[in-house]
């Protein structure tokens, strides 16, 4: 090395300066400032250029207020919501691993010749499927006599028109399926990897908006798929007494708990006796976590089933008195802010709406007339007015799918399911693919000589070899999970229906509710403490799991 230490430092600083300046002003500095803020009552509506109220040092008051003061239930609620959404992490990891294993298995042709053949076969298959569906489903000539029209959504269609559209839709479906098969055969794992990674790449407002329409109670894809399935279940729910459903739900929970205890206990025993290593125990923990999250979810559904079947939904019909009561409630709410709009709503609704009207139709009407606030108010009021009986339902033959993003009982689950969809093909899958590629092939050859195949091969070779990868993934997803959830909740529910997570709480305090930067910083630092502790726990477990 040339030059005195001083000279070398100067050269280094010259290179470092642009980055270091920004780092100090926008990263390192703010960290210290934020820590200081968390001990003050800083609030931009009080402390700004226009006023000279001094900023007060309040010690640990902010922390006390959040964690055990009068408002502490907020923090713990939001923390609970955050943890609930993190239930998706083990499921996501297990699913990503399954996808990576499937991609790694090289099921598609790997030679150039095989691929060419694959393309030809795929194209022929696509053509045949499309043509077949076209021939089988296209309805005959349009009947000349006018038909009874049915109403789907807001459109009136004749049965023939519906058949024609369905047929076109089916042909489109066949074409898409054919494309997937052809591309899969031609390009192989890279094609599927790209496809599975897409959601992760696009994760942002644009894709959340798509999911928001997927979850729409009417006209959403999720419920369109669920309706026939639930219709079949509804008879069963109505026929069997409700305690049976509670009992089976609780049984599900107890069973999951018992199975978890047994699995973990056996793992610990094996570890004690030196029969299996820490990796196996960690594997068990992951399996237990996955299964029990799923069982907990299923149990929750079962316990909820009778109530869901009973509760009034958007399709409940309102008679004249209920209708006028619901409308006046909405009008009252509106009048508080704008008397004219409220009165107009009252007049117009009583003029135009003829009972019986469904709750959904009413709230849609009010929504269109005077905005979502009144729509929600009328909906809430109407639902509370309706007796929870089977007879309240117009189409008594089907169990209604949930109103995902509106209903408090379901909104978090909706976000959880969406989160799993996002995480399945994401970085986790890519990391596992890299991990799988790095497993030495000699290990598999040795195992083949011993006669180990399938599951045993996975448990004894693949899983322990992937331990460092798993460890990294668990650490990163825990950190991400504790910080995450803000954008989803903001876009899909605006924090309503009990979906506020910790990051959202910080946003609310700092930028919505009077710019309370001091209090918000305290919450952010509590989050950091949680992340730090969980990461340390992960490292304790992880070092045991990976060093063997």
């Amino acid at each position: 090395m040339i030059g005195s230490p001083r000279r070398r430092l100067l050269i280094a600083l010259a290179f470092l300066l642009p980055n270091l300046a920004g780092f100090l002003v926008f990263t390192a500095g703010p960290i210290l400032v934020s820590l200081w803020m968390s001990f003050t009552d800083l609030q931009l509506t009080k402390h700004n250029d226009l006023s000279d109220v001094p900023i007060r040092y309040v010690g640990f008051d902010n922390y006390a207020r959040i964690l055990w003061g009068d408002e502490s239930h907020l923090f713990w609620d939001y923390f609970g919501n955050t943890l609930f959404l993190m239930l998706g992490i083990p499921i996501g990891i297990a699913g990503s691993l399954a996808l990576a294993l499937m991609l790694h298995a090289e099921v598609t042709p790997s030679t150039a010749r095989g691929r060419r053949r694959g393309v030809v076969a795929g194209l022929v298959l696509t053509g045949m499927m499309c043509l077949g569906v076209w021939i089988l489903t296209t309805p005959g000539a349009q009947p000349s006599a006018p038909e009874m029209s049915t109403e789907i959504g807001l459109t009136d269609l004749s049965a023939w028109q519906v058949d024609l559209l369905r047929s076109r839709g089916a042909v489109l479906g066949a074409a898409v399926l054919g494309f997937l098969i052809t591309a899969g055969l031609a390009i192989g794992p890279v094609f599927f990897r790209t496809l599975f990674y897409l959601p992760n790449l696009l994760a942002g407002v644009a894709l959340f908006l798509l999911w928001k329409t997927l979850y729409k109670p009417q006209g959403g894809l999720v419920n369109a798929g669920l309706e026939p399935v639930l219709g079949a279940f509804h008879g069963a729910v109505r026929a069997a007494p409700s305690f049976l459903w509670y009992a089976s739900g609780v049984l599900m929970w107890v069973g999951a708990l018992a199975a978890s205890v047994v699995l973990i206990a056996r793992g610990v025993m094996k570890l004690r006796h030196g029969e299996a290593g820490g990796a196996a125990l960690a594997g068990r923990l992951l399996i237990v976590a996955t299964l029990s999250s799923m069982a907990a979810g299923a149990g929750y559904l079962l316990v909820q089933a009778p109530e869901r079947a009973l509760l009034p939904t958007g399709r409940t019909m309102l008679d004249a008195p209920a209708l006028s009561q619901a409308v006046s409630a909405a009008a009252a709410e509106l009048r508080a802010s704008d008397p004219e709009v409220g009165t107009e709503l009252l007049l117009r609704a009583s003029e135009r709406l003829e009972p019986p009207v469904s709750v959904a139709a009413l709230s849609d009407y009010v929504d269109a007339l005077s905005g979502p606030t009144a729509g929600r108010a009328v909906r809430r009021e109407a639902l509370s007015l309706t007796e929870p009986t089977y007879d309240g339902l117009t189409s008594g033959d089907s169990l209604h799918p949930p109103e995902w993003l509106i209903d408090e009982a379901w909104a978090k689950t909706a976000l959880l399911i969406m989160g799993i969809w996002f995480s399945l093909g994401g970085s986790t899958m890519l990391l596992y693919l890299a991990g799988l590629a790095n497993v030495p092939p000699e290990l598999y050859e040795a195992a083949a000589i011993d006669g180990a195949t399938g599951w045993r091969r996975f448990i004894n070779i693949t899983w322990p070899q992937l331990a460092p990868t798993t460890f990294f993934i668990v650490v990163m997803s825990t950190i991400g999970g504790l910080q995450g959830g803000f954008e989803q909740a903001m876009v899909m529910t605006e924090g309503k229906a009990d979906t506020v997570v910790l990051a959202y709480y910080v946003y609310n305090l700092a930028f919505r509710d009077q710019f309370q930067l001091g209090l918000a910083s305290a919450v952010a630092w509590v989050m950091f403490a949680l992340i730090f502790v969980l990461t340390m726990v992960n490292f304790r477990f992880g070092s045991r799991m990976t060093n063997e």
Binding site: T27, A28, A224, A510
Partner: protein, 265 residues
């Protein structure tokens, strides 16, 4: 069997997007029909043009590309220079400072939001492009990623250049930068994507409609035109185009990048 499984999973990933394309070409009144028929009554590609008339979609699009592009360019400059100092030069305090950089990676982003907001207010950059770009133009993560990459370049190369009389600036620009190109590409993709999708910071920083980036613009669009599902779907589909193009063009680098960050991290 496994192939059928892959296809089945593939369908579950593709179906929402196919449905979105169909919705984007439908009309407001017919959109609910799609969940039953999977085909619109009228095919209306002109929805895509209408998006630009209804809101400042073109402006949002430009802002997103402009902000993400500038952030990426500035990060390439600041991070590669800093990475050079951390990986190639020897100076007192280097390892301590690098450890400080690494340490800040553990701090959650929300910790920085409140003070950064206050700082930007003080600097008078609230509601400006500068406020959107400058706080993101320096990244500890990018510096870390590039440093790891530069460490893999054999030191004999710049020693040879040094003997030939090249100064640090020439070594940096003519030896190290060209060799670090794959690493820089990886960092650029991550940076661009992250800032293109960035939500929290533009949300709190921008008040004017003509400074909104796509995520914020789309959210606003949904709030004001919520009932016009076809338009919103057309808008969000177009917003997805740049990341998809980028990924298809550079996916080898990106996949490597995810794995690089993990192995070294």
């Amino acid at each position: 069997m496994l192939f059928a499984g892959l296809i089945a999973v593939g369908v579950s990933f593709v179906a929402p997007f196919v449905w979105q394309v169909l919705m984007s070409m439908s009309t407001i009144t017919d959109v609910d029909l799609l969940s039953k028929t999977w085909f619109p009554l009228d095919v209306r590609p002109e929805n895509y043009a209408r998006v630009f008339d209804q809101v400042g979609y073109g402006t949002y699009f430009f802002n997103s590309l402009f902000v993400a592009g500038w952030v990426t360019l500035l990060q390439i400059i600041t991070c590669s220079m800093a990475a050079y100092a951390f990986s190639r030069l020897r100076w007192p305090g280097r390892d301590q400072l690098f450890l400080l950089y690494l340490g800040t990676l553990m701090i959650p982003g929300v910790v920085l939001m409140a003070p950064n907001f206050a700082i930007i207010l003080q600097l008078g950059m609230f509601n400006t492009y500068a406020g959107l770009i400058i706080p993101s133009a320096f990244s500890a993560y990018g510096t870390f990623l590039l440093r790891q990459f530069m460490l893999t370049i054999p030191p004999s190369l710049d020693e040879a250049a040094s003997i030939d009389g090249a100064g640090h600036w020439r070594i940096f620009t003519q030896v190290i930068l060209p060799l670090a190109r794959p690493g820089i590409i990886v960092m650029s993709i991550f940076t661009f994507l992250f800032n293109y999708n960035s939500f929290f910071w533009p949300l709190i920083l921008v008040k004017d409609d003509n400074l909104r980036t796509l995520p914020i613009g789309l959210l606003q669009f949904e709030a004001s035109h919520g009932r016009d599902t076809p338009l919103i779907m057309a808008g969000s589909l177009m917003a997805m185009a740049p990341p998809i193009l980028l990924f298809l063009l550079l996916q080898k680098h990106l996949v490597k990048g995810v794995q690089l960050g993990a192995v070294k991290g």
